[in-house]
Amino acid sequence: MPLIEIDGLQVEVAPGATVMDAAHQAGIAIPHFCYHKKLSIAANCRMCLVEVEKAPKPLPACATPATDGMKVKTHSPLAVEAQKGVMEFLLINHPLDCPVCDQGGECTLQDLAVGYGASASRYGEAKRVVTEKDLGPLIATDMTRCIHCSRCVRFLQEVGGLMELGMAHRGEHAEIMPFLEVHVGHELSGNVIDLCPVGALTSKPFRYTARPWELSRRKAVSPHDGLGANLQLHVKNGRVMRVLPQENEPINECWIPDRDRYSYQALHSAERLTRPLVKEGGQWVEAGWQDALERVARKLVEIRKARGGAAIGGLASAHQTTEELYLFAKVLRGLSSESIDHRLAQAEDARGEGVRWLGLSIADMEQMDRFLLVGASLRTEQPLLAHRVRRAVHAGAQLSLIHAADDDLLCRVHAKLITPPGAWVHALAQIAKALHVAEVEDVRVSDAARTVAESLLGGERKAVLLGAVAQNHPDAGRLQVLAQAIAQASGASLGFLAVAANSVGAQLVGVLPGAQGLNARAMLQQPRHAYVLMGVEPELDAYDASAARAALEAAEFSVALTAFRAPALEACDVLLPIAPFSETAGCYVNMEGRLQCFHAAVKPQGEARPAWKVLRVLGNLLSLNGFDYDSVEAVRADALPQGQEGIAAHLNNAPVPAGLGPAAARADLVRLGETGLYDLDPLTRRAPALQAQAGAAVVSVGRALFEQLGVAEGTPVRVRQAGGRPVRLPIHCDARLAEGVVRVPAGGMAGADLGGRLDAIFIEREEP
């Protein structure tokens, strides 16, 4: 362990540590711009020059290895002179536009200029002006302010895995720019805004709306994917103005995906529901809470009396808090209904004994030696987990895939079986066979499957992970059994990628059908007389959009607890305005089983109320026992009696045994209907910047089908599915798609008129 002296302090550092690391350890601040603990060392800003004894010139602390016996002075006259010299150079071409710069108040250059800058500039020459770059709807640019630290370039290359920005040209003409005028589209791109030490890259939606010193910072947890990224909501006048990452190393490190960063826009969408609405003669009429809730209670009691509890179905979103989900299930069970579910997109109820989770910790992911991803569109489903997987692969892990689309995961793929979803059972069976799993019937093992199997037999830490498409698969049960067999035979852990922020929490508190109840798909296929909905847009969230709409339209009565008006909820009879994540308190349990609680950052808008309060009142109006809660903590105490400690015992990925015979024959053309990156939930669907970033939906087909259709790229074609209506979408030829697959995203309006996400589909050119 090298021992170095820094500003007179003795510091013992880890081998390989730099002078910057030693300074951090000693609590000494060295000014810097380009250095970032999570990025490679560039040593290009030169701001961290320090004096090192016996070195003839000042050395950059970020790049100088700390060696035994080294003596460093970070604030000696030589060091400070060098730092001031660099600061002068940085400022000569930097515009003096702090008063109109969004970065003002949180600008590293501004802050360090106070300590190291001169009060007047000696530079009397013309200043550099750089033309603006269009990086798309998320990131605003003022490239004249750029100080060329290259953090944004390094982030996208090293963390994102996609070099969407580069520094073109030389010398003073060097500019950060996107290549070939293409926008920056990476799902983690917004992090470059936080990384930019000046106002060159700022948030486009947030621009000019508030000053950093006007904002109060409230902690929150991401309501989107199952990672549970920690957030800071920046609030001004009771309004969330922007969202930034809250550093939490084992979860999101210091990053957040763009959907966590920009979905706040939806909080003030024009579609926000702020007063209860009830339908009178087919028209929506505003109502008071008391009237609306009494009406709901009366109707539900009526239907239960007339037709029994089984006539009532409850569908809740796993983006709701654990407390809300707990009370939701409690209300439904109080109405003697066992048809309760949160897994709207699942085709088959393939539940096991326990609560499905990642099988490992999130941080463990980058320690893996082997991965097998089954039906996971990783970058879309789990943008940050994808980064951990990428890092593991860069460190030498082998990644194997089974999917219908060979999407670029921005890292090396060791082996892959790209086949239509209907062939996945067969693909897994081959791998299992190659691993000598006894139960598998006679299948011929392909070379690719053998390569996957051999890969899984190597290495020590291994994970077989089932993504959203595998979980939503019509053969989900058999996929799970086979995946489990493969995991067992190879010594891997089996994991489920939690689709929603609280998928694990929803399972823990029993938002699942009881023994006599129907699951989500069944209660939409066999319409109920009444539906209670919470946080869902059935035709967007369900496996079969058209079946969901039909069921809701046919229902005698349906009530939705929702933060938004939505076309999918027009068929309801009562809409109750509930508070989105920023306006309610509660907790989420992320995919690794971590309980994360948060407070409301702002007050609910209008008459909206946290759903747990609405459900509590509803429970009381229904004269149900056990609804006398006076705080969210009290609900939590019932929902998760042992808190974090009680969770681990429930986590169990073992599937229910099922037959391992060959899968049934499938249709010629099958839809691949994954939830779009920005169509995950009601919030992302209503964030204009995210929607602009996503662009218009297209229908993608493989090359053979594309040529068979004989249309030009971008031409509108018609797709339709059983039970649905024809949908007109522009066609896109994607050579990375398995043949026999037609990819139409789900979760957005493009898929709202279609049928099952992984069912047969018809595609035809439009006749003129």
């Binding site: 060392i41 560039a42 040593a43 290009n44 800003c45 030169r46 701001m47 020059l49 003839p56 010139k57 000042p58 950059p60 790049a63 290895p65 060098a82 010299g85 660099v86 002068e88 150079f89 940085l90 000569i92 071409n93 000696r122 530079y123 020459e125 013309a126 100080i147 060329h148 290259s150 580069g166 520094m167 040209h169 030389r170 010398g171 003073e172 003409h173 060097a174």
Partner: protein, 428 residues
């Protein structure tokens, strides 16, 4: 030209022979004998490196670093690929010697790289050729083909069981790619930007493998050393400055060109060989080692010998041996305007002091030249230079500062005249 070349030539001796660049000419005069001997005797690498150390061969690209010492930095027992890279990215204004080696004696460079490759345990070698010279690139490729056909490259060279091959990499003309780590980045297909050192190329070089980078003339000198011995090479020149060196003399002389003469030759002799200052003009100033070397007044230069130590002692550097001669008609402000523009344009832009400082210095010099100078400008130039030099990732920052500070120091009166009178002293 042959008239002026004494018999001490190391690299350009093929001039005057029929087909100077051909394999036949080279082998007819002892070419490839050194590598044959090395391979036949299975000479230990240490012995070769020792001879290079004895020869006091110093890097011919500009820095003058002892070649033998540089070679000894390569890890001997490294398991995996190692590389030898030849730097023919001859971009320093005033320098035009390496291109002549490629045109007139490419086989000696090939042999030099073979010996280096053998001594350093390299798997392959690359010759990075400046983007703006194409004839030389073709000449090199042709020589490679000849050598390969003769069994001197590739698999099982000369039946020795040793495999080694050479490749050309044609650059795109950026000056910065002459910096050895920027050159490596460029070969790797990335933007040519210097790497921060440490790690040095000997431990983390091309594709992250141990790599030695030498100048063309340096590597081309190796066969001579191995044939005649390090001591003979040393004796060609003077202590600590072994061998002959090609001087590219340009500017206001009657016969500009390349002159390969022993290190330690008086500058006055070189000037005489080059036919003296043109039109009988008076010598005003000399940049002795390529544009980044500090300028020296003519009278200082006339008393100096051309070797690394003597020039360094006088406050400049021998550099690449590009001697730029300026006579009394030269306006030093205008000359500096041009030089500072070069460095401003060629800065890679990666690190702050060079990116921002070179432009600042150039703009001030330009203002002075165009009659808009201010009295404080000269102090400002020196101050800015001080904030660049030694604060950058690579040596380009220092290279940009050298001319500015030395011009102001030695010809201050001319600059002051420009500032005061808004016009040029020369011809006033």
């Amino acid at each position: 030209m042959s008239l002026h070349i004494p018999d001490t030539q190391v690299c350009l001796w093929t001039l005057g022979h029929e087909n100077p660049s051909s394999l036949a000419t080279y082998t007819a005069h002892g070419g490839y004998e050194a590598i044959r001997k090395i391979l036949a005797e299975k000479m230990p690498a240490g012995e070769i490196i020792e001879q290079v150390k004895v020869s006091a061969l110093r890097g011919r690209g500009g820095a003058g670093f002892p070649t033998g010492l540089k070679w000894s930095f390569m890890p001997r027992d490294y398991v995996g690929d190692k590389y030898i890279v030849c730097n023919t990215d001859e971009g320093e204004p005033g320098t035009f010697k390496d291109r002549d080696i490629l045109i007139y004696n490419p086989h000696q460079l090939i042999e030099g790289m073979l010996i280096a490759g053998y001594a350093l345990g390299a798997r392959a070698g690359y010759n990075y050729i400046h983007g703006e010279i194409f004839e030389q690139y073709q000449s090199w490729e042709k020589a490679l083909e000849e050598a390969r056909a003769a069994g001197l490259l590739g698999h099982d060279i000369l039946g020795s069981g040793w495999d080694f091959d050479l490749h050309a990499h044609h650059g795109y003309g950026a000056y910065i790619c002459g910096e050895e780590t920027a050159l490596l980045e460029s070969i790797e297909g990335k933007k040519g930007q210097p790497r921060f050192k440490p790690p040095f190329p000997a431990s983390f070089g091309l594709y992250g493998k141990p790599t030695t980078i030498n100048n063309t003339e340096t590597l081309a000198s190796i066969p001579w050393i191995m044939r005649h011995g390090g001591q003979a090479f040393l004796e060609l020149g003077k202590p600590n400055n072994g061998g002959s060196k090609i001087f590219s003399i340009s500017g206001h002389v009657n016969k500009p060109g390349n002159y390969e003469i022993p290190l330690g030759t008086p500058f006055a002799t070189l000037l005489e060989m080059a036919g003296g200052v043109r039109n009988g003009h008076k010598l005003k100033a000399v940049i002795p080692g390529g544009s980044s070397a500090p300028v020296l007044p003519g009278e200082v230069m006339m008393d100096l010998t051309l070797d690394f130590d003597a020039i360094a002692k006088a406050g400049s550097m021998l550099g690449s041996g590009a001697v730029i001669v300026m006579d009394e008609t030269v306006c030093m402000v205008r000359a500096l305007e041009r030089l500072s523009y070069f460095y401003y344009e060629e800065s890679c832009g990666q690190c702050t002091p060079c990116r921002e400082g070179t432009g600042w210095m150039h703009r001030i010099v330009r203002r002075i030249e165009h009659g808009q100078g201010r009295p404080e400008d000269l102090e400002e130039l020196v101050r800015i230079g001080g904030n660049i030099a030694g604060r950058t990732i690579c040596a380009l920052g220092d290279a940009a500062v050298g001319p500015v500070v030395s011009f102001v120091r030695h010809f201050r009166a001319e600059f002051e005249y420009h500032i005061e009178n808004k016009r040029c002293l020369v011809g006033a």
